[in-house]
């Protein structure tokens, strides 16, 4: 197969163009689709984050020598940090799944319960779904906060009180 002069020139130009485009445009990433997501990230039905604070085991933490600090409070979400001897060992959170309904679906595969609520374990995290709506999570920041600790601390939340919010 032979190429004419004009074909060679065209090929060279195409190559330059390709190099130029790939150098100028950013490389595709796994987040490109997600970055197109626009619109509200929370639902108008979700509760205020502040209304969730009262169900956290703040008193239990303090009586057991942990330093308990509320760290985030946004629409339908509240988070607290547990520290021991100045080191953050765990995160505790409550989120309203009306903001992200997909989150509640995974509990259909739950094989165990904590405090009578369906529970799921993944990596260093344990979660329960309360009243088919509120997700309560304990996350181990340090290995010293064990899987058993996560179960224990989830039970220390006022889960029944939280379920009352769904009525």
């Amino acid at each position: 197969m032979s190429f004419s002069g004009s074909q060679r020139l065209f090929g060279a130009l195409l190559l330059v163009l390709l190099l130029f485009v790939s150098a100028c445009g950013s490389q595709p990433t796994r987040w490109d689709e997600a970055e197109k997501t626009q619109g509200p990230a929370t639902s108008a039905e979700s509760v205020e984050g502040g209304s969730l604070n009262t169900f956290f085991p703040k008193d239990a933490a303090e009586s057991e020598g942990f330093d308990f600090t509320f760290t985030q409070e946004k629409d339908g979400f509240a988070e607290a940090s547990l520290e021991q001897d100045g080191t953050e060992v765990a995160l505790l959170s409550i989120s309203d799944t009306t903001n992200n309904p997909e989150a509640a679906e995974k509990f259909a595969e739950s094989t165990r319960e904590i405090g009578g609520y369906p529970a799921i374990d993944v990596d260093f995290e344990t979660a329960v779904l309360v009243g088919d709506r509120f997700q309560v999570k304990a996350f181990s920041v340090e290995d010293s906060f064990t899987e058993a600790d996560r179960d224990t601390w989830i039970e220390k939340f006022d889960l029944a009180g939280l379920e009352g919010l769904t009525e």
């Binding site: 990433t29 619109g39 600090t69 509320f70 760290t71 985030q72």
Partner: protein, 295 residues
């Protein structure tokens, strides 16, 4: 919309003048700050996971939260970016003009103008105001009382603590001397609304400073600085910070003359964006924590 959050975190430099300058302050808090860069790496680290499906879900939720401007994250990012006054051309030239293993700062003396003490005092206090406003934009007002809120603000660690460390060293001790807290309070007390309005940094961020007019905003700036002055003095005392120690550590990568501290401070101010750099890391950290709780 401005740049996507995944891109902003991916583009954080692993090493540049800002990173070198921050690492020079590691001696104050050894091991506390890790220069974590990359959106995926941040998710892996914060959520302690290598499960690709989970990383994707956390990332997608984080992006959705960030893209919804009503959630406050974009505002916080804008503030962190805007309060830094980096001169990118100078930063690039400084890096290109490395002398041996260090940056030849002395050859840039003619291009550097130290700030007057009053301007420096205003800039320092405005960075603190940005910190408070960005904190609220990112985290809301956690807890049920002012006490809860102040406690959450006091729990600074990792990149947030490094940002405060850099603020104290680079914007406090180096340009204004060891007694900078008392000096800034005095300057702020004598400041008039007219003078504040002439400050460039204030002009850039004034829309985000709480207060209905310049006088009220000035009051907020004064109160913000006063309320953290004890904390700053405690930090300086606890770590026995001095210009000598800071300069000694910076000498590892910048060629420094000891009698040009105000020029050195101006050089760091012009060539680094430590507020934006560590602010992006703080925001990404908090955003990922929320996202992993919500998925």
């Amino acid at each position: 919309m401005a740049k996507p959050i995944s891109e902003l975190v991916d583009e954080l430099p692993a090493d540049n003048i800002t990173v070198k300058a921050l690492h020079a302050l590691d001696f104050v808090m050894p091991g506390e700050w890790e220069n974590l860069v990359g959106f995926e790496a941040t998710i892996k680290k914060v959520a302690r996971t290598s499960d690709q499906e989970r990383i994707q879900k956390i990332g997608e939720r984080a992006i959705h939260l960030y893209n919804d401007s009503s959630q406050g994250y974009q505002r916080a990012m804008w503030l962190y970016q805007t309060v830094d006054s980096t001169d990118k051309a100078l930063a690039t030239a400084a890096l290109a003009n490395k002398v041996g293993h260090s940056i030849g700062f002395l050859s840039f003396l003619s291009k550097i103008t130290p700030k007057a003490d009053r301007a420096q005092a205003i800039d320092l206090s405005l960075k603190l105001v940005v910190e408070v406003v960005a904190f609220c934009s990112i985290n809301g007002l956690p807890g049920d009382s002012i006490g809860d809120f102040v406690k959450s603000l006091g729990k600074y660690s990792k990149e947030s603590l490094m940002r405060m460390n850099a603020l104290i060293c680079f914007d406090g001790i180096l340009p204004l001397g060891p007694d900078f807290v008392r000096m800034v309070i005095e300057i702020l007390e004598g400041l008039t609304p007219d003078e504040l309005e002439k400050n460039e940094t204030y002009d850039r961020i004034k829309e985000s400073v709480p207060g209905g007019n310049t006088q009220e905003q000035l009051n907020f700036i004064q109160q913000s600085f006063s309320s953290v002055s004890d904390w700053i003095n405690g930090f300086v005392k606890e770590h026995d910070l001095s210009a000598d120690k800071i300069v000694g550590s910076l000498k590892n990568f910048i060629e420094i003359s000891d009698d040009k501290l105000d020029y050195l401070a101006a050089f760091i101010d012009m060539t680094t964006n430590y507020y934006e750099h560590t602010g992006t890391q703080t925001l990404a950290h908090r955003l990922v924590r929320r996202a992993m709780s919500e998925i």
